[in-house]
């Protein structure tokens, strides 16, 4: 039964981080990520790392869970690290065959890896503390000004909402159809890639047909409920910037000021 799987990795809670306006969180995250690239020195990384640690602690999300989000990218981080070890000219530390590890390489490797780790940790902290729905709302609201340049902000957000609603339903359905075809002797786990792909046809055809039927019925249900696009539409949940958000922005500016000082004054 796949229907218990939560979408994304939202970790329900009531921390300050959870309560922040999702737009503020999203914008601050983007600025933070930019700072990780701009302030690329040891002392700045100490501040940025400490901030990340503090925020994870405040969020109440178990540290282990946040670290787990690194797991799928662990190999990429390691690989980048090793590449950097050997690809920078400078003071040689150690040589095997034609590869030479340099002091500069180690330095660079550590930085690049830390950069990746901070990027991943902070992005996943956003998804841990913000439900996909609030993120959708935030995106719609942030993209709204771009409407006048022809960006369909409302439609994009509506599409995301519907996708979030239907992903669990479709996963469940895929599971059921696969089992039905397996009962008729279909084999999805052996054979070459090509033959496995071909074996998926009996699953994909019914799945697509059903998705089209669902889309058709959903469109009718939406129409019956008076939907006619984003025009004239209001929302029940309006995003509101409150004092917590101002505080967060203020603290963030303080951190940025500190980064500027130690990078350029020092």
């Amino acid at each position: 039964m796949l229907n218990n799987i939560a979408i994304g990795q939202y970790f329900p809670g009531n921390s300050i981080l959870h309560r922040l306006d999702p737009r503020v969180k999203l914008v601050l995250l983007l600025v933070y990520l930019a700072e990780v690239f701009v302030f690329s020195n040891a002392r700045s990384y100490m501040i940025l790392g400490a901030t990340a640690g503090l925020l994870i602690w405040i969020s109440g999300v178990p540290f282990r869970m946040v670290l787990r989000s690194l797991k799928p990218l662990w190999w990429i981080i390691l690989f980048t690290f090793i590449i950097h070890l050997f690809s920078h000219p400078g003071t040689p530390l150690w040589t095997i065959g034609m590869f030479t590890m340099t002091w500069e390489g180690v330095n660079q490797g550590v930085f690049i890896s830390l950069r990746l780790i901070l990027l991943i940790l902070m992005s996943s902290l956003l998804t841990f503390t913000t439900s996909p729905l609030r993120l959708t709302d935030a995106l719609e609201s942030l993209l709204n000004p771009l409407k006048r340049f022809g960006l369909p902000a409302h439609e994009l957000a509506m599409m995301m909402t519907i996708a979030l609603r239907f992903i669990p339903t479709l996963i469940e359905e895929t599971d059921k159809i696969m089992k039905a075809q397996e009962s008729r002797g279909a084999d999805f786990s052996t054979g070459s890639v090509l033959s496995r792909l071909r074996n998926m046809v009996p699953v994909l055809v019914p799945l697509f047909l059903s998705a089209f039927r669902r889309a058709d019925e959903l469109a009718m249900a939406m129409e019956a409920r008076g939907y006619r696009g984003g025009i004239g539409r209001t929302r029940m949940k309006v995003l509101q910037i409150g004092s917590v958000d101002y505080l967060a922005v203020f603290l963030f500016l303080l951190m940025t000021a500190a980064l500027c000082m130690i990078s350029w004054a020092g």
Binding site: K179, A180, Q181, R184, G185
Partner: protein, 289 residues
């Protein structure tokens, strides 16, 4: 010959926060030639149970034996035997028409036998036989698109796709769901025919106690992932306590006869179908006069 479940326990997503026991220590048996009903409300573990019968799910603990062969083969030889045993159990899911995918009814019904590696001549024979069994005339339906059939016909085509595998046991998960009274009656007659003439052992999940009463000779009552009782329908329907706990009611016919009895008309309350119900009423009235 039978299917035996011995203390089967099944747990979804063990070791995660979503861990949930769908079956606990279920021991039931499905005798060869029987017409077995599985009853219980939504979420009682019925669907999980039937998916064990052909090895779609493997028990977390316990054993499933089909004709004495353990579906969890331990070595290579045993696994081959298990695979053969699983083929003896045909599975018809709820709304089976959703699994149709081929361009023609014939090709779709042939999907199973082809996967079994039968040669084309044999496959065609199987398809023709299966289609005729479900009442879709081979000559006139073979080249039609399954998607252009009516709701009831689609369902028959899907069932033919399973029958073409020549199962010994046929498992149906709510075969009549979504059909109108006419379609339900037709399908039930077809299943009865398969049981009677083709000597198929039938296992079916049903929400309708009326259908259970008139069709089944053995009832497995599920509640909260446990088999509360397996017995003949008369015995099961006389256990009000168990039925009520499982969120079910005895068939309407029996409820009506009980009301008559309570009103002082001396009727017997055992009746499988409307004819037997009429007989009980006649006897009761004769007795009263």
């Amino acid at each position: 010959m039978s299917i035996e479940l011995k203390e089967v326990t099944y747990c979804y997503m063990p070791g995660t926060p979503y861990e949930r026991y769908a079956l606990r220590q279920v021991s039931v048996s499905i005798q060869d030639g029987s017409f077995t009903a599985i009853a219980g409300h939504t979420g009682s573990g019925k669907s999980t149970l039937v998916q064990h019968l052909n090895g779609l799910l493997q028990p977390s603990s316990g054993q499933v034996l089909v004709d004495g062969i353990d579906l969890k083969g331990s070595d290579k030889e045993a696994r081959a035997a298990a695979k053969a045993a699983r083929r003896r159990v045909g599975m018809v899911f709820q709304y089976p028409e959703q699994q149709l995918f081929e361009e023609t009814v014939e090709k779709d019904v042939a999907f199973g036998p082809k996967n079994q590696g039968l040669d084309p001549g044999l496959v065609q024979g199987r398809v023709e036989e299966a289609m005729n069994l479900v009442g879709l005339d081979y000559a006139s339906f073979r080249n039609r698109s399954p998607f252009q059939l009516s709701g009831g016909q689609k369902r028959r085509a899907a069932i033919a796709g399973v029958l073409a595998l020549h199962p010994r046991y046929l498992v149906l998960d709510e075969p009549t769901a979504g059909l109108d009274p006419c379609g339900r009656e037709d399908l039930i007659r077809m299943i009865q025919k398969l049981h009677r003439d083709w000597k198929l052992t039938i296992v079916f999940i049903s929400h309708s106690m009326e259908d259970v009463a008139r069709l089944a000779d053995s009832v497995i009552l599920m509640n909260h992932g446990e088999c509360v009782i397996q017995d003949d329908p008369d015995t099961v329907f006389s256990r009000d306590d168990l039925l009520q706990a499982a969120g079910l009611r005895p068939p309407h016919i029996q409820r009506l006869l009980r009301k008559l009895q309570a009103a002082g008309v001396p009727v017997q309350t055992r009746a499988k179908n409307i004819e037997e119900c009429l007989a009980r009423i006649r006897e009761g009235l004769k007795h009263a006069q």
